[in-house]
Point group: C2
Chain length 364, copies 2
């Protein structure tokens, strides 16, 4: 994999990750975009004991443009996009409408004696998985998926080094049903200036478990699901994919490496290949459940940059709100106000359906 | 207010809350519904340290029926509904598709060494706010809103006495955009067999605050917003409504009683009238922001039945995902996988718009 860093006309970084020597990748960004200031800030909620991000400049972001105006396609035939080259393999660039940036124009201070605000320092990146506007992450083939795993790992290393960054989370939102505003196959990476609330909770559980047993909570979860069998969806060398016993979403699959590794960069060569294969397998099963592509959120839960790295254990959460053809699960009163998820589909039934959706090219 | 308890043909309880003597309310349920068993269970998630509800029998619930088949309208002209009488003021009944029930047909046990399952004991009720299919909670007038406040308080008392119930949460989901499956104006009440995760977090924050200062966290939050002024939306005797400094949703308003009270039953007469008036005021403002009714979730955060009642302080959370005409905020990767909310609208701007949306019948 070859990596070349470039700049867009407004100063944002763009990085080509090429699978082969694809020329100098020196096409300039001809759009003459003005440098954007961002006004992101993070605010502390003293009741929930969590940080919330306020990023008011994002309200004007691009919303479901037609394919011929897609900003993630390569620049071709006079249509200038976020990617100056006429083709690419995988490309990463700083989000034009970021929730975090290196130097947001916001002061720190107190909003009330209980609520601090801080500048939203960090970085938000877009990862285009393919130059093919009509592709899908799960259908790009083994080689490309392995490249993408390497890109996610490389970005985790790079973003972890930025000042103020405490956690790096690569994720993909897929499907307009869940609010995706650009159809081109892409993911995002958020480099947060704090440890996310869900990771904080997970690490607190891991700390209690380690205190009680001396072992890793996540290793014990994977061992428990391996032994129970009934919720296992698929495996790959070094990996297991299962529907968690207490799944929140109609279709929810977690991918755990068998080995206790903190994050993507710590995966060895075989584990990266295993992850690429398992992602392809599980995403394919998810898409074969219904008669149209399944909306989902895919996210990497990795160790924070500094804190509690020994307690963390890399895993992937893949969740879909689709509970039936044409029906989505919504987060209503119980989930939103109580934090109590009501799942209509038994995790064992979801796992069985995903197993029956078969590996690529054949059903069972 | 007169209260009469009745039974539907499948044994579920139905309670008429009448504002005046409206006859015996003894119309029988002629539908001959079979008694339903429920299979709800709660499962412990050892990673998030939370209970999740699995209620697979709800998947077949009624979904957006046409108005003439509305199950929440009174029974008239041969159309038999959940309410046998031909008219009603406010009526409460046990949900036909509940997430919790008194005797779910599910055993307890271990799914893995880390994940217990328990029967989903508790109760789910539906509250019809009016017999008018086309009404809306915010437009029912002072008297009806006061009746509804009294009903919520009465149900909190009644449900708190049921075996195994640890928290009672009245709420309303409003708008098909957020997944409402029945258009008739109604709310729900969940009586949970555990303290909800969000309340657990709030009480942990309140405990830390009390340890540090000796005072109530929620009283301090309300005092802070009162002093800051900029996020206050409206007030009523004994109450303040404000956009919280760290709001998660584009439009989010919290209603706090000035006095330190744990729950709805503890409100005195003047505070109940104040709450009814403030709800009408704030819901009206929310609906005047856009050219169509605003989708929202309204929920009461009250003290658990047993635990930490001195730390809790009743408040209402009113949240809308609408960020612009025709645009909703979706919970995508950052919110779902990280628990990090990204809010596109500055809380101070949201509060200013709600103030400008004026009281009933007049502009700002």
């Amino acid at each position: 994999m070859r990596k070349l860093s470039r700049r867009l006309s407004d100063g944002r970084e763009l990085i080509y990750y090429d699978e082969s020597d694809a020329g100098p990748r020196d096409a300039p960004d001809l759009r003459e975009l003005a440098h954007q200031t961002t006004e992101s800030e993070v605010r502390y909620d003293p009741v929930m004991d969590e940080w919330v991000v306020v990023a008011s400049q994002r309200q004007g972001r691009t919303y479901l443009p037609p394919a011929e105006l897609c900003p993630l396609c390569p620049s071709r035939d006079g249509h200038l996009t976020e990617v100056p080259e006429p083709d690419y393999d995988v490309v990463v660039f700083e989000n034009r409408f970021p929730s975090f940036s290196a130097e947001p124009c916001v002061g720190a201070g107190e909003l009330t004696p209980l609520t601090r605000r801080l500048p939203g320092i960090g970085r938000c990146e877009v990862v285009c998985f393919t130059s093919d506007h009509d592709g899908a992450l799960g259908q790009l083939g083994d080689r490309r998926l392995r490249t993408i795993v390497d890109v996610w790992a490389d970005r985790t290393v790079a973003l972890s080094r930025l000042p103020g960054v405490e956690q790096v989370m690569p994720f993909e939102n897929r499907g307009e049903q869940i609010g995706v505003t650009l159809r081109h196959p892409h993911g995002q990476i958020y480099a947060y200036p704090f440890v996310t609330p869900r990771m904080t909770r997970k690490l607190a559980s891991a700390r209690r478990h380690a205190g009680r047993t001396g072992g890793c909570l996540f290793c014990a979860v994977a061992a428990g699901e391996t032994a129970a069998e009934t919720r296992v969806v698929a495996t790959a060398p070094g990996w297991i994919a299962f529907v968690p016993a207490a799944a929140r979403w109609p279709y929810e699959v977690h991918l755990y490496p068998r080995r206790h590794v903190p994050d993507l960069p710590a995966l060895d060569d075989a584990e990266r290949t295993g992850l690429a294969g398992l992602l392809e397998d599980v995403l394919g099963r998810l898409d074969r459940l219904f008669d149209s592509p399944t909306p989902y959120i895919l996210a990497f839960q990795q160790a924070p940059v500094r804190e509690a790295r020994d307690l963390a254990h890399l895993h992937v959460e893949l969740t879909s709100p689709r509970r039936d053809t044409g029906k989505l699960k919504y987060l209503a009163g119980s989930e939103t106000a109580g934090g109590v998820f009501i799942n209509d589909i038994l995790p064992e039934v979801a796992a069985s359906r995903l197993r029956s959706a078969g590996p690529r090219g054949g059903g069972s």
